[in-house]
Symmetry: C2
Subunit: 100 residues, 2 copies
């Protein structure tokens, strides 16, 4: 699928829709779709990362993410379009499911 | 194993020994034993992370790390002792092998 950079309004609307289904919200930080996931322990955090890794590799759309024990910070951006695109919102939704 | 915070000299000596076996060096950054690993692609980067994850979970000594596509930045510290310990150097050595 071809990615398009979303407008500010587009991002705002997509964020509302995305966050309506989750407890802790995604936000825009450094121009990237960002969320700090918190798990029970490292096993659960890395299990989430592994499920996500298989998905992002298949989609060829990779996150920037960091992990410290039970925490995983995820930042999504579509470098090809220089901003946040539908691809990032699709991945965010999937990651919420993988975490849930 | 009980961890002990290494002295500056201890860290310096352990770094020399560690880096004698690797191409790209470990350094001390923000008081943590730090290395930026670079791989061929995401598959190889995440493969490295998966091997490391199984090891660190078994040892109950976890890294702070971040990944962007083919790059993995690792930072090691022993929070119990408020500094770098033998545990961090043991893990660093293992991670070099997993990456190699």
């Amino acid at each position: 699928m071809t990615a398009h950079k979303l407008s500010e309004l587009g991002v705002s609307n997509a964020l509302k829709s995305l966050n309506s289904e989750t407890v802790s919200p995604w936000v825009i930080e450094d121009g990237k779709l960002t969320k700090l996931f918190q798990f029970k322990d490292f096993q659960h955090a890395f299990g989430f990362m592994t499920m996500s890794a298989l998905y992002v590799e298949k989609k060829n759309h990779h996150p920037e993410w960091s992990n410290t024990y039970n925490k995983v910070k995820v930042q999504l951006i579509t470098h090809d379009v220089g901003g946040v695109s539908e691809k990032d919102f699709d991945l965010a939704k999937r990651m919420d499911r993988f975490a849930g």
